[in-house]
């Protein structure tokens, strides 16, 4: 079985902003040689802290940014080499749900128009077929049909996120990029949306690229997890195994910093404790132990023991 989406050594560099009189600034390596693959019907979780490149990764997959280097393969074909029809097909196959349910829906469009827009834009469908499909989607995400004629401001955050999901699924995509889909929602609503996403995956065989800073949510949702740090993937592995037994020092630190889900799991803060002499400007960013080999060791493959569900053919770049 081939992966739905495969990224090989993908990089994205941003030049510092150059205005009319702006000098050239240093290059920001937002994404720096990452490789991953998402299988059909599976979820790949991406975790990391702000500035680690996870959002840029999402933009690259969605075609909102073009990679500086490397290749992204969709169903085995290189995106760059796609012809117009292939690109359209890609557009239809990869959709997204974003973090902020209040910014995700155009406040001036009725829900029916919001959901139908991808359909109308990409296919020639008769109006009543569009309507039927749209109502189908509303039903799928658990909203009543009368929602169609309302405007976004008439819905709560959780309901809006359902609408955003309905819109993302209207073209029957193969892959949905979920960029922090529940972090703006109330605690009691999060589980509704996570359950819905899981249910839709099982029902429709969707693949997810799930990006979040909530480690437990990612571990819960994903089959496989990649951990990003400063634009690089520092660790990847089967979700449970990685969460239980992180190998890379950064992953260890990250999971150690995660909050417990029960008072009994309280750890007495193994890491990050000892910094009495804080270096001048590095408080935000945990500095990695210098013992870490800079490049080749940066990505460790998990031992076979911890990866029961790991697929054997997964390639890792230039070890």
């Amino acid at each position: 079985m081939t992966a739905v989406l495969q990224a090989e050594d993908v990089t994205k560099y941003f030049a510092g902003r150059r205005g009319l009189f702006g000098g050239h600034r240093g290059v920001v390596r937002a994404v720096d040689g990452i490789s991953f693959a998402i299988d059909g019907g599976k979820t790949l979780g991406v975790v990391g802290e702000s500035g680690c490149g996870k959002t840029t990764t999402a933009k690259l997959v969605l075609g909102l940014e073009d990679p500086t280097g490397g290749t992204i393969l969709f169903e085995g074909r290189d995106l760059v080499a796609l012809d117009a029809a292939g690109r359209r097909n890609y557009r239809k196959s990869v959709q997204a749900v974003f973090q902020d349910p209040y910014a995700s829906l155009n406040p001036r469009m009725r829900i029916s128009a919001v959901i139908a827009e991808p359909l109308i834009t990409n296919e020639t469908v008769a109006p009543d077929a569009v309507r039927t499909r749209m109502l189908e989607m509303l039903d799928l995400v658990g909203l009543p049909a009368r929602s169609a004629d309302l405007f976004p401001h008439e819905f709560s955050g959780g309901q809006r996120q359902r609408i955003a999901i309905a819109r993302a699924l209207v073209l029957s995509p193969k892959l949905v990029v979920l960029d922090e889909p529940v972090s703006a929602l109330d605690v009691s609503i999060r589980a509704q949306i996570l359950n819905l996403l899981r249910e839709l995956q099982d029902r429709l065989g969707l693949s997810y690229l799930f990006i979040a800073h909530d480690l437990a949510a990612v571990a819960h949702m994903s089959h496989e997890i990649v951990v990003m740090y400063l634009g690089k993937i520092v660790e990847r592995g089967e979700a449970q195994a990685l969460a239980r037994e992180p190998l890379h020092p950064y992953t260890k630190a990250l999971f150690a910093a995660a909050l417990p889900s029960h008072p009994d799991e309280r750890r007495e803060d193994v890491v990050l404790q000892g910094g009495s002499a804080e270096p001048a400007q590095s408080a935000e960013r945990l500095s990695l132990p210098s013992a870490l080999p800079p490049r080749h060791g940066a990505l460790r493959q998990r031992g076979a023991g911890g990866a029961r569900r790991r697929r054997s053919h997964r390639r890792l770049p230039s070890l």
Binding site: E49, Q159, R190, A191, F255, L259, P263, E278, E284
Partner: protein
Amino acid sequence: MSQEPLLSLEHLSAHYVSQQGTRVVRAVDDVTIRLGAGETLGIVGESGSGKSTLALTIMRLLPPAARIVGGRIMFEGKNLVDKPEAEMREVRGKRIAMILQDPMASLNPLFTIGNQVGEPLRVHEGATRANAWQRAIALLKSVRIASPQTRVAQYPHEMSGGMRQRIVGAIGISCEPRLLIADEPTTSLDLTIQAQYLNLLRELQREHGLALIFITHNLGIVAKMCDQLAVMYAGRVVEKGPVARIFNAPAHPYTKALLGSIPRMSDNRRQLTAIDGQPPDLSSLPAGCSFAPRCPAAFARCRAEAPPEFALDDGRTARCWLAAPGVAQSLDAQAAK
């Protein structure tokens, strides 16, 4: 718990009234909480549950539209509700300190760190400029800021985010308060920085014997930091008690559902127990228990009559008819029929 609690809220209510007086938002409604010296209390609730208003109520810094409509705030044996503003000012920053949601924006960009850290000392203890400056340096040292002598003369923009948090912490403890309230202290922070900050707060608590109140929507913070927990829903405390007991066996259906709805690292791809429906609008609460419309265990009485706080055997209370003495048995009996 000591005989005389440090802070004791007794049937405290604070409401917002709209300008026309037509809409009343019961942001804090009949809240009773006790907190002993040196204890850590977590107040958990979703947005709109009234938890931040509760913190402002304790500080007596409610916005103009809101006011305390009933109850008492007993702190060190005195009722804060009756205190004139001038006396209240001596409590703020000196006996009770508070840390805000965004530690990054809490420092005034135009004044030096030393000026801002020393300010409570000058106001509350009448310290001289030079004395406040020296003590500010000591305070910076105590929150583990390297080279405090130079840092003290610098401006906030010269500090990293982590340092600014520590400085805000230093301001909080400057007058050796008895109680520190932290309102969503880590919402906007990355995981590793969040952990650093929480650790700092815990150390300060240990060193200075502070009582701490964490106001948060994050049960993880409670699990990590707190001894006592109060769960708020729609302006009311629906359940409170020792953290471990509540996590092990929640009494209120809302607490139970909340705990079940949170994904855990260990149980991959288990179906989460979602809470159906939406949190209620505080200005038009349902009759009876405000959780009843979403409650899986609700019965007729829940929709008609709001439950009072029932004390459970193990030092807990719950606002739920299921916790009323005898109700569970009679329900079982009904089910048996």
